[in-house]
Symmetry: C2
Subunit: 294 residues, 2 copies
Amino acid sequence: MTGVSIREVGPRDGLQNEEPVPAEAKIQLLDALSRTGVARIEAVSFVHPKAIPQMADADEVWAKAWRNPDVRYSALIPNSRGAQRALAAGFREIEVVVSASDTHNRRNLNRSTEESLDDIAQLIPLVHGAGATLEVIVATSFGCPFEGDIDPDRVAGIVARVRADGADRIAFGDTTGMATPRRVRDLLTAVRPDLLHFHNTRGTGLANILTAMDLGVTEFDASVGGLGGCPYAPGASGNVATEEVVHMLHDMGIDTGIDLDALLEAAVLAERLVGRPLPSGVLRAGPRTRLSAL
Amino acid sequence: MTGVSIREVGPRDGLQNEEPVPAEAKIQLLDALSRTGVARIEAVSFVHPKAIPQMADADEVWAKAWRNPDVRYSALIPNSRGAQRALAAGFREIEVVVSASDTHNRRNLNRSTEESLDDIAQLIPLVHGAGATLEVIVATSFGCPFEGDIDPDRVAGIVARVRADGADRIAFGDTTGMATPRRVRDLLTAVRPDLLHFHNTRGTGLANILTAMDLGVTEFDASVGGLGGCPYAPGASGNVATEEVVHMLHDMGIDTGIDLDALLEAAVLAERLVGRPLPSGVLRAGPRTRLSAL
């Protein structure tokens, strides 16, 4: 393997799970990330402002952010109304979430997994009709905080259904950090996604990525600074930190296209914007190549 | 691989890198850890109290701690004076450190690596004469914060020297968290230790352990709660947290002999004793098998 593609999710998934910050801060962060060399950025979500106030200004943020022609930007949407907003705003890469756990899906989306799959089947022609692509993110793929382990066959069934309905890409989400190297191997042996989204809640983030790479996966989500952990649990971390992923990969001689120094500058900015220490070890300690003065 | 042996280093390596705590607190922690099923515990170090005030009460702590006959306890010593104290206190497993980096060895021990190796050659008959064993911990094996990368051949040379001098066991220490899966593979391909000691400074702790296991290593140090991070750098972590290691291994069906619940109780105690949140994700979030109520 010579290259890995990172999708930076800090501006959307990260900031959506922090205390709200102003539109100007989001634009600053997006612009800083657009300068890092990262291939893809999940920029905003088009959700109901009452459900997720952190993303109420998605239209404004996206209208004012710099769009680097070398970066692919995507938006997350919950339903056809969100899809219409995202398409009107100019997005050509759209993501939608369905949970492998029926219990989690009901609590998160207020309907069964099966009902969400029916909704997605209707969304796909709408998105395709506008010349855009739809990625389906299968949440709780590695375990559900309510149901526990999720049978890989259940995830495989969901993948087969949405692929048959025309989904362009599949991601597996480790929604509450229950993935481990063993679970990654078990699931990926049963069914292969295009992209993986890991959390580092229980310390396994990089070990999971290493395991998935060993099985041939080359696309991963990561969040600058580890943005998106719950600020009320000190030390608790959500998304795997982009710097930690890039630091490990570059040391292995695997290219990401990302300039680690520029990424670290964006992480410093992210930390300042949310006003709390972020969990990224590479942000805290610096890369292993940054030596101490004698 | 069906089993991995963990050496718990929280009472020594962990507490030595925290603000000093009273002897009573150290005894409480040792006793709690002795009840977890862990195979080995690094209990104390016999160092000069002016150099390391955190360990000034090593004799008192060790005299009063419960000694579980199923646990192997060890002590770290810096020189023959320390070895004599450790042997007089009844230890039969002794550890000594030498740094692969000459610069680091000079700053840490005020002499060259070569001079430290000469000291160790003289220590070995002293330790063996008392019926004890000596483990040599090669610090900065995966990189030095002053010199940068360390040539695996240099580490291999040190190992050959101390083995020829009669050292019983060899450990490689990732002193400042510079190990990565790539560096683990590079070094272990050149020379194999009995035991590995990783930090999680840059997020690679569990990925390093996974890589080393893949290369056949079955003994690892870990510190309860991740005890031993620098308290002045929020989120920065030192030793890999024992709960995170055990949590990943048990999920893989690999036995450690450790009762994770008992270990988590010890981690809660450790956190209370040092009075700051420890960096362990499994301590914070609980094991992946601990489900949320609906």
